[in-house]
């Protein structure tokens, strides 16, 4: 975060102005509209980097049910990264790919592209996360301020992720146990059975 980037407000505004193409259905197999791999490749080319397609293979997705959300988030991130004020230096290329692959998947575990677009807190989370990958801080903030804010957002994010996954797993286990308890008694009182 040693360098100053654009003002936070500019990035937040950019997110709210995401064009429909970047909110369209990511193409997975023969379904969906937008090829995420092509979008990311074009984005990086526009920033001066030619990336081997194999490095982007994760962005092709395989299963609509499990990959759609993270690819939708990766598309939103691509739109944000395309801001002319964000320069992707060679040494940050790996971090940018991590953002699009791994961070998008992590965010997908507890939020979605619509919330990142609509919710002011989530928008800021996305903007600061993106800046951090480019080693930038919002214009007008000191390194300490930016670091402090980012840390608090990150810890909130970790807590959300943990809570979401723990809660889901605990509940799934409780449901399985409850149904196993009932298994011997079958379902009661249906007037027909299938």
């Amino acid at each position: 975060m040693k360098n100053e980037g654009p003002p936070l407000q500019q990035l937040l505004h950019r997110i709210t102005a995401t064009p429909p193409d970047f909110m369209a259905e990511p193409r997975i197999g023969n379904k969906g509209d937008v090829h995420t791999v092509a979008v990311v490749r074009d984005l990086l080319a526009a920033k001066g980097h030619i990336v081997d397609i194999a490095q982007l293979s994760v962005l092709a997705g395989r299963d609509v049910k499990t990959d759609r959300n993270r690819l939708s988030i990766a598309l939103l991130m691509s739109w944000l990264l395309a801001d002319a004020a964000l320069i992707v230096e060679r040494q940050h290329l790996t971090d940018v790919l991590t953002l699009l692959n791994e961070d998008a998947a992590r965010l997908a575990a507890y939020t979605n592209s619509r919330q990142l677009f609509e919710d002011p807190e989530r928008r800021e989370e996305l903007a600061r996360l993106t800046l951090s990958k480019l080693d930038l801080r919002p214009a007008g903030e000191t390194v300490a301020q930016a670091q402090d804010r980012f840390t608090s957002i990150s810890s909130l994010e970790r807590a959300r992720l943990l809570a979401a996954s723990q809660k889901a797993e605990e509940r799934a286990r409780a449901i399985r146990e409850q149904l196993a308890k009932q298994a011997a008694e079958e379902s009661a009182n249906k007037w027909t059975r299938e």
Partner: protein
């Protein structure tokens, strides 16, 4: 009531226990839901999701962990992924919405024929709601249920060497009796008790499948039910006619599944299975999850339903039909379980399995299976005591020609559910 059902001198050996499990305050709610099911209008048109669908899906995406993985609501409903039985088998607990009280869950189990046994989350109020859809179906045929206290409302029939049997009551019918019995002689002190018991109980409704109804015809009790409800497998029209003639009451063929409850009832006047649930949107999809044009055949796909523990969003049932609005009804035309299979005649012409169904329709078969092997030989097994092998053979030769290699065999029985149409010939999957 329970004592009467259990302790009658001719009663079967009841092997299990069960009950309605409704909390006192839920009984009134169950009654309201029944009423709603009977009266509701089903007024949408094919390929036009009704208004409730969007908020329903949004709620699923927000509150059900499985659907939450999908992310945000897409612009078009048809961009949502579809589900299969495999998804339910693998991830069932994640379908249960966050607000459902785990302690109240009960389970519906199904073995099925697709290799994915299911254990599904349900709730006493869901089990209770079946009756509302049955009542809706029965009204179509002029039947209004009247049995109440000290009478038997329904007896469910099974015929298996081992069968889950129990007695219970239906609270929304003034605690009328409900019994699930096994007609297999194993469960009776004397085989003659079966007819005597049914005659003593005089149930208003008998529910079963074609196999248990065929057994009922053999036992031949003197009973006057108001209706018979058939589920689980295709009820062939000739068997339906025999049951109707014997008992002088409507025989309803219900399209029903554990995942969704009673979906439709067959009505020959409507030309197919008439939809029953007001909160169930049905699409007919091609292999790419896209809706086919109205009137074309495809896979029956469900969204909605009354099991609030297991909300369905584009659930591919594996069953095939066309969907049309006919007058006031939405009707599944030519409903067939599982994907279509084609059969090759000796002259190379392919026939769809639905043509075989039509050819066998006049015969009172209980159940049948048709398999074509890699050499083109067709083997047909059937259950149906009153049908000669030569009759089945003749009906099929009319369709397949006499030169197609064919073997027809009557068998004592199948496993409870079979895959009816199979083929080892390349290109047979239509």
């Amino acid at each position: 009531m329970l004592a009467l059902l259990r302790e009658h001198p001719n009663a079967p050996i009841y092997r299990n226990h069960s009950g309605h499990r409704l909390a006192p305050e839920e009984v009134e709610r169950a009654r309201q839901l029944e009423d709603e099911a009977v009266r509701a209008e089903i007024d949408w048109h094919p390929n036009q999701p009704p208004q409730w669908v969007k908020p329903f899906v949004e709620r699923c995406l927000a509150t059900s962990p499985f659907y939450r993985r999908y992310g945000a609501m897409p612009r078009a409903f048809t961009q949502l992924p579809t589900l299969t039985r495999e998804d339910l088998a693998r991830d069932m607990p994640y379908f249960v919405p966050d607000e459902v009280d785990v302690e109240r869950l009960i389970n519906f189990r199904t073995s099925g024929t697709s290799g994915h046994p299911l254990l599904l989350a349900s709730h006493p109020l869901v089990a209770a709601q079946y009756l509302g859809y049955h009542k809706r179906a029965l009204r179509r045929f002029g039947v209004r249920l009247r049995h109440g206290r000290d009478q038997v409302g329904v007896i469910l029939l099974g015929v298996q060497s081992i069968c889950f049997t129990y007695v219970s009551i239906t609270p929304t019918m003034d605690d009328s009796g409900l019994a699930k019995i096994n007609l297999h002689p194993n469960d009776w002190r004397s085989p003659d008790d079966r007819a005597k018991y049914l005659e003593a109980m005089q149930p208003e409704v008998i529910a079963g499948d074609p196999i248990s109804f065929a057994a009922l015809l053999d036992i031949d009790p003197r009973i006057q039910p108001a209706a018979l409800l058939s589920t689980s497998m295709t009820l062939m029209p000739a068997l339906c006619d025999r049951l109707r003639a014997r008992y002088g009451c409507p025989v309803l063929d219900l399209y029903s599944m554990n995942e969704a409850g009673p979906i439709a009832v067959f009505d020959s006047a409507a030309g197919g299975h008439v939809l029953l649930q007001q909160r169930m949107y049905i699409e007919i999809l091609d292999d790419d999850d896209q809706p086919v044009a109205t009137g074309q055949r495809g896979e029956v796909t469900l969204t909605g339903g009354f099991n609030f523990c297991l909300p369905l969003v584009r659930y591919r049932t594996g069953d095939h039909a066309a969907l049309e609005r006919r007058g006031g009804d939405l009707v599944l035309i030519g409903l067939e379980g599982r994907p279509p299979v084609k059969y090759r005649r000796h002259d190379g012409r392919w026939l769809n399995n639905i043509e075989i169904t039509h050819a066998l329709r006049p015969l009172p078969l209980v159940q049948f299976s048709v398999h074509q092997d890699a050499s083109g030989h067709i083997a047909v097994d059937f259950v149906g005591a009153s049908v000669a092998e030569s009759e089945v053979e003749h009906a099929l030769q009319m369709l397949l020609g006499t030169e197609t290699s064919l073997r027809v065999r009557r068998v004592a029985g199948f496993d409870r559910k079979i895959i009816q149409y199979t083929s080892a010939l390349p290109g047979a999957q239509a």
